[in-house]
Amino acid sequence: MGLGLSLLYFIVILGLGWIAGYLPFMKTIFGTILPYVALLLFLVGIIARIVRWGRSPVPFRITTTCGQEKSLPWIRQNKLDNPSSALGAFGRMLLEVLFFRSLFRNTKAEFKDNEKLVYSVDKWLWFFSLAFHWSFLIIFLRHFRFFTEPIPSFVTFLQNIDGFFQVGLPIIYITDVLILAGLTYLFLRRIFDSKVKIISLPSDYFPLLLILGIAVTGVLMRYFFKTDLVAVKEFTVSILSFQPIGSDLLAKLSPLFIIHFTFVCTLLIYFPFSKLVHLGGIFLSPTRNLANNNRMKRHVNPWNYDVPVHTYEEYEEEFRDKMIAAGIPVEKEE
């Protein structure tokens, strides 16, 4: 069910982009209004989501500890997997955000001889997710060459590194290969790994398809069906500097580019209302971003309230005779 439905949504958006590429009035709407709507919804949506999270307190410090705690001075603490300081927690978060530390631990459990459970190292999910995320980031940063004039120097730097192997013409970017490989892997495992298939929702397939759509149209434009890049850049820079866009400029944009652009705008709009907000959520995850210094430093719960308790007096009242008979000291001898 999940796959079919998201495929349908994907095709509708693809179709809309395609048609917009050929119909001038739609092209005008997609080229001049859509990007601002998308950008605004994206930014406001994300901010609203994070503020919504921020409005709930973190009542307890529930760090998941993944290594030796700080205790006796002669026992070596695992400062990154079980940090006891803000700096350590920061380091842990860096590892988590930049290198997917937790996913790196991934193992695969299988039965051997129908009676033994064995665990094998399984880094594929880690590798392809990391490849996908990093590639996406680098490709986004590389796109600054279309976003700004003058072009920031980091773009040139990234392009040089990314195209290091100088294969083909135009030079094939490693990230282009990796993002397609990553997305394909992430997509296929949802279909072929029965466990993952069971848990997958339409909202899991859809963003993969959408990003795959973005990547594929991008790759097609770069390597196969080339487009008027000067026009593309004039177009994006105009959007990103609030300059009017003339119909002659829009006319120069190829339908393939309009599809690419429509996908990007859809992603921006879809982002804040979907699981993609894990981008921001990871930073606020209380099991990861807190130091495990619970017994060193008191954590305050802002809504801590008084609860009924069974006091010692009530307890002694009930058991006093038995306590006295057993020779256990009491507060009130009678």
């Binding site: 409005r55 600054f144 976003f147 080339k226 500097s241």
Partner: protein, 136 residues
Amino acid sequence: MKLYDGWKIILGLIVFVGFFTLPIWLNLSSAQSKVKPQLVYPKDAMQCVENKDYMNHYHMDLLNFWRDSVVRMNVRYIVRNGTVLTHNGEKLEMSLTLACLKCHSNKEQFCDQCHNYLDVKPYCWDCHVQPKGGLK
């Protein structure tokens, strides 16, 4: 409205929004963002070997093909419909210097306009001598 860990969250949001709107700030803060490539075309030149649209999109493929033909297969002349193209009675060679640069002699006013605008570094000049008026 109370925001818990407020300053950390706000700082994070500023970084996030700042990063995503960076192109806007860069464009707004630079007058150059309004500058577009101005190509100077040769005034009295012949027609190009391909039409303008094709050259805009695919000139790199053409040059690449030329290089391979000449260097690897020793096929030197531009053939159209079975006959070798000529210009002023001379056979036209598949050559950056002997064909393209004959007309588009000013690299700065031609190649560089778009190439700098899009930050594309061709490797033509790794071997070929750059014509005058060109930036590295």
